[in-house]
Symmetry: C2
Subunit: 670 residues, 2 copies
Amino acid sequence: MPPAPVPLPADPDGRRRVVIEAVHPEIDDGRFPISRTAGETVTVECDAFTDGHDKVRVELLHRRKGARTWDVVEMEPLVNDRWSGAFAVGEPGGHQYTVRAWVDHFATWQRGLGKKVEAGQDVEVDLLVGAELLRAAAQRATGRDQAVLEALAERLGGSALMSDRASLALDPTTTIVVERNPDRSLVTEYDRTLNVHVDRERARFSTWYELFPRSWSPDPDRHGTLADVVDQLDYVADMGFDVVYLPPIHPIGHTFRKGPNNAVTAAEGDLGSPWAIGAAEGGHDAIHPDLGTMDDLVALIAAANERGMEIALDLALQCAPDHPWVAEHPQWFIHRPDGSVQYAENPPKKYQDIYPINFESDDWQALWKEILRVVEGWVGVGVRIFRVDNPHTKPFAFWEWLIASVQKQHPDVLFLAEAFTRPKVMKRLAKLGFTQSYTYFAWRNTRHELTEYFTELTRTDQYEYFRPNVWPNTPDILTEHLQHGGRPAFVSRVVLAATLAASYGIYGPAFELCEGHAREPGSEEYLDSEKYQARRWDRSVSWSLHPLIARLNRARREHPALQTNATLHFHGSDNDRLLVYSKTDPSGGDVVLCVVNVDPYTTASGWTQLDMKALGLGDEAFQVHDVIGGGRFMWQGPYNFVQLDPQVLPAHVFVIRHRSRTENDFDYFG
Amino acid sequence: MPPAPVPLPADPDGRRRVVIEAVHPEIDDGRFPISRTAGETVTVECDAFTDGHDKVRVELLHRRKGARTWDVVEMEPLVNDRWSGAFAVGEPGGHQYTVRAWVDHFATWQRGLGKKVEAGQDVEVDLLVGAELLRAAAQRATGRDQAVLEALAERLGGSALMSDRASLALDPTTTIVVERNPDRSLVTEYDRTLNVHVDRERARFSTWYELFPRSWSPDPDRHGTLADVVDQLDYVADMGFDVVYLPPIHPIGHTFRKGPNNAVTAAEGDLGSPWAIGAAEGGHDAIHPDLGTMDDLVALIAAANERGMEIALDLALQCAPDHPWVAEHPQWFIHRPDGSVQYAENPPKKYQDIYPINFESDDWQALWKEILRVVEGWVGVGVRIFRVDNPHTKPFAFWEWLIASVQKQHPDVLFLAEAFTRPKVMKRLAKLGFTQSYTYFAWRNTRHELTEYFTELTRTDQYEYFRPNVWPNTPDILTEHLQHGGRPAFVSRVVLAATLAASYGIYGPAFELCEGHAREPGSEEYLDSEKYQARRWDRSVSWSLHPLIARLNRARREHPALQTNATLHFHGSDNDRLLVYSKTDPSGGDVVLCVVNVDPYTTASGWTQLDMKALGLGDEAFQVHDVIGGGRFMWQGPYNFVQLDPQVLPAHVFVIRHRSRTENDFDYFG
């Protein structure tokens, strides 16, 4: 018996002649959304073509998720059967887009008519064909369009001079009326609806400061509190930060508590690591009694908000042995044959103060719900940003569900993924819902490394879903570059962070005080790390970067160019130590041009090789004004001399002012 | 009312921790199959990873389409969470593949145990954990494995020396038995099944000769016939071709028939174009009476088969005004308001001898079925290859259905797409089912153009579905390069075609006789083209390329390296006129190295820059034997001198013979 025949497509699918392919952006075949913030633009491209030589019309459809109707954007042809269109997204939540296309018989006919007229051919029959097409359009139209189209059809088939009727058929006003009433009966609809995850602006543009409240007591003999942080919040606000991130504020376990510098056993009075979460006083939903109360947290949130800042909490899903979950939900932990609970390990290293949660537990659904309850509790008291500790050690499916669950009720909640791990794992976490992600920035130091990495972050599909938040240091990361580079290294690194990326953060006061002492050679751990003890910082030292950081963050607030990664552009220079790059405000003329000496040890001088087109500049002279160092220079063309002594200031952050007046007006610039 | 919560995944989906991404090859998210021929290999790669640091196991599953069970191939890790595995496909038809992966708890445990043992730690409890894992494996196992695993579990938990039990746990034989009985309860299956379209070998490796039978009469006053072709088939067979392609052999229309050189009106006795199909004698299912009968075709097929050749027919879906379909199925054509049928146009050009078929007809389903009936009719008399004329002017959906319908019953039928059109249209036709495709080869002449184009054809995803069939000429294409380059151009172009691509063809005898006369300057049309008249070719001229082509095609048959595009590799040279490239037999040591002077006007000399690794060579000297020109040279290292005079022979086609004997044996080589 021969095999059954291949079935014919249902009518009219076999007649849908347009093909739509290669829609961009589209992450993993549409499995994941792209990310945007409110008001940002999505530019969509696709391939659309039909058999033969007929003209094709392509439309971009988009809508707020849940809306019943699509907004329609006419796509424009690029080259090589590629089409482009764009739309702006609205408030946080979901947005959707797709594409449709069809053969435009009227436009095809019009094009042919035009060529025949040009060649002086008889087009009498063609005009009759056109009249039929117009009558069909009239049947699809209503109101005034219908009447206009009927009248046009009548005139095309009428007795006026053939050339006059042809001119009428080719008239742009005719085209407009027909285009308004297209024949979409054989439309091809792209076979999937793509999603945009829309966040509020801070998802794109944010400036973070991490601090350990227990170190912020004015009295060196007393444990710092949330109230102490309130009292000193202006110190942070004056630097221009907008997110204050606190390591875990929960009760700290006693069993196997670590001492200073990660000593295996703690002495009486040692504070332990905030990441060893849970004690008799409570777990992930409690506040460490020494830090204060829920009211203190609410007051801190309010004080931060008054200063244009937000408080970000840490979400570290692991337990100290004293955590209430260990007793109440033993099934969420792995039990060993000797009856003990499995502690964290990275053999042969043991972390006996931490029990990992077993997400393969049979009781996983209750576990997920409990974690959601915890997060919603913090959201309930006003927390809108979570920095998630080691998300890459919990299942991807869990995060996708948790973030979706929280954001469904609270689309303004943001999650920063602290996943310092392999590239594909980091990307997956961003795809599945993390708002921002830590990066490899701390370990990218040379011009080549920085150029390559930020090109990947901003010029590949990763840009569509992965929002980098770059940190020159964290409590876990004191790089060799900072350990050995001294203040010049701290300066160049914070300038790079603040100008290369729309979101960056520092762990302070260690950073602005240029703290560079490592626990031991070869280690990236701080000596006397605040992870295991309180520190008393003298914030009044002369070398503090507080004023510089304040200038940097002011520049970030004042210059929309620095608030996006969409327009990062690298320029050349003839000195490998000089990294030259610019950013442009997508919606206007704001241009910031940076030149950074990435070597903290040596003065670097050389010539820029500017891409003038990317700067929106021509041959005219232009003024560059260094908003960090204060200098002003007249430049012209791609090649301009720069010299940067790291002991003075290793970077220029230039605002470009165009020469729009006469030379004599020079003094009035800026 | 708050929005409904995001539902939890069903058990155990939330516990499936491995992610599978970026499977390759995968064409348009799996919408289209990749193409292979019987016996070829498919190498599959994917990203697979889990949260945390657990070990992952990844398997490639494949099967003949319709089989109930999968064959399983263990995938091996590359770097960066990438995995690789391979399988070979069988007979023509469908083959499928997918991937699955899971967390390997035993291997993870083993790795940790090893590190602890190395660090001299107490592993007593770890061994008890291992014993539990082994007991679980025993429950999944049967027969001898079950007994072995139970015994191993017993011993691990027993009272022997701890170090001995640890050694047992780490023993490779233990690993093997556990790996045979894995815990796939939380397996992640890749969410789609991907397809391989398997063709017979000729889909990959074929050598085509196009001829117009009506020109092959020995009597210049008589119309050539299929029987005449049979009589002269050895002329073609001696050149080593394996496909003889005939332009349409159907009755030719009389209405608006074109005269010689595409004259608008034909004189009495003019033969017309074979592509103006259909007359009173019949349409696409009939044979032109002047060519012979169905029996003559069957005899020609048989004669070709006896010589290791096949007959390919043309499938040109368009009608002369006299075609029976025009009267019997008027609904398949567009009727103009004046009652006439719409002829083919490319305004302002008119092709009144041709009626295009209207695939937007309401009666499209009957049309598709009729075309399938026609194709199956030719298949029924033994035709297994179709060269499809202008497939890009008929709907994509139609071709996908037609080819699938024919190949479902006859998986050995091949379709060559004659789509000289825009790149994405050509690619789409290949994706949807065309076995082979014409290319832009005819217009790629410089070293840069050829390198770039063949790199795209063989080193991008296009390789997976688009099989190029390269033609230096066709009845429609006499390039300027051939018009002006004389015999040297014909030689270099046929050497390039035969050695760059596993499938190539020529339109003869015009090609081997170096016919270079265009209809007019600037045109690629032949003067006195066989499309509109019969030609009498004197195949005995001294400059005929018949012997050269015979040598080339023999080299193609004898060297598997030339029968695939998978291994095409470009090497350098210090002279831009010298194109250097090699091909290697994927399954063995056969290596062919070509050097072609792409400039037909000038002697080119220079030094090769060979990629020795790609040639499988080290520092030793090796012999190159030119199987076209006959020369033998001893070469060594990347840099070897070459001089090619196009008036003598513009190309070397070297077979490489390794120096495996002493210098004195040199004379015995080859």
